[in-house]
């Protein structure tokens, strides 16, 4: 199956970011150049995992006579490997990068959540936590794909080191939640504080369904991410893609804060009130601090 959704490349491979970096008289993305040893260690983990995203498929296939039992087994395995959220859907061209081929029927999203309490320790702690979780997702998806190949079915891992699958359309279709104004997908329990590990496969599985629980209606009146985004990158208006409402952030305004400074920016996700249900005290303390320093801080 060939993909239809354009992907924006990361770092200097994105012409928009590259031109902004060059305008500053630089050759490297400032944020990446300032990464700590711990963060670099995590990035090496997903690069290493990429070598094992595919492998030999066991010729002695386990026949699937009971799909729901096999689905339960795969979800249990993903949880055993460290996933906090697991969902399955049929793969569609919208979920695949434009022009890329993925020869499988299903996609399993196996996501790991971030420790929200890091918001009280500052941007570096939030970034290290994000990178720890990306590395955990790479380990998890690589092991889950190998487990499925052992059952006799083809399977590829998709994570930061190697991927053709777009996370958000998959998160939506497997029922993790709804797209928020900040452009990330919101789950009622975890907010948008989770990162993607994915496996595509031909193993026959039962699929989950999209779930809506009022996020987009809430976003219409909330606007807290918009009011806290230091770059004013989050828009008032939405567009519609495949019948689904989404707000497209303005990269030219986001990059000065998320890529052109040493510090990481994850504020739009951290200030979202969907964090309050699981982290009431931390959320309140964090928002009090934001009020004290000024909501849109840091500002150039």
């Amino acid at each position: 199956m060939r993909g239809t959704t354009p992907r924006r490349m990361q770092g200097m491979a994105d012409p928009v970011l590259a031109s902004m970096v060059h305008d500053l008289g630089m050759e490297e993305v400032p944020h990446y150049a300032s990464r700590t040893g711990t963060v670099v260690g995590y990035t090496q983990r997903w690069v290493e995992n990429a070598k094992f995203r595919d492998g030999p498929v066991n010729p002695q296939r386990v026949e699937v006579t009971d799909r729901s039992a096999m689905t339960a087994r795969i979800k249990a395995k993903a949880r055993e490997l460290g996933a906090d959220l697991v969902g399955i859907c049929r793969l569609t061209p919208t979920m695949i990068d434009l022009g890329k081929e993925v020869p499988h029927e299903f996609v399993i999203a196996a996501c790991v959540t971030e420790d929200y309490h890091k918001v009280l320790e500052g941007a570096d702690a939030v970034e290290e936590e994000a990178m720890r979780v990306y590395a955990a997702c790479a380990d998890l998806s690589t092991e889950l794909a190998a487990y499925i190949r052992d059952l006799g079915y083809p399977a590829w891992a998709h994570h930061n080191g190697v991927r053709e699958v777009q996370a958000i359309p998959v998160f939506y279709q497997v029922g993790f939640g709804e797209l928020g104004r900040h452009g990330s997908l919101i789950n009622e329990k975890y907010g948008a504080d989770f990162r993607p590990g994915m496996v595509t496969t031909d193993l026959p599985l039962d699929v989950d369904e999209p779930r809506e629980f009022g996020v987009q209606d809430f976003c219409m009146n909330c606007n807290v991410c918009m009011q806290n985004c230091p770059g004013d990158a989050i828009p008032e208006d939405y567009v519609v893609t495949d019948g689904i409402k989404r707000w497209l952030i303005d990269l030219e305004k986001c990059y000065p804060y998320s890529r052109l400074r040493d510090e990481y920016c994850h504020l739009c996700v951290d200030v979202c009130p969907y964090n309050v249900r699981s982290h009431r005290t931390t959320f309140k303390t964090f928002m009090k601090e934001r009020k004290r320093i000024g909501y849109k801080t840091p500002k150039y």
């Binding site: 060939r2 239809t4 012409p15 061209p93 434009l98 022009g99 519609v240 497209l248």
Partner: protein, 52 residues
């Protein structure tokens, strides 16, 4: 920086926004790739400037 929404107008009349692009050149590259896809043969692509 120039900005354009890329809209896909489908044969059944549905309009779906592909994304926001930051130069005509960037958007045209995506349109060229989409036009190669058998599923997209009946679609038209239109660039729309966001409101100021």
């Amino acid at each position: 920086m120039d900005k354009f929404y890329l809209q896909e107008r489908r044969p059944d009349g549905e309009v779906s926004t592909v994304g926001l692009f930051y130069s005509r050149e960037e958007a045209e590259e995506v349109i060229a790739e989409l036009r190669e896809l058998p599923d997209k043969q009946g679609c038209e692509y239109v660039l729309v400037r966001p409101p100021e």
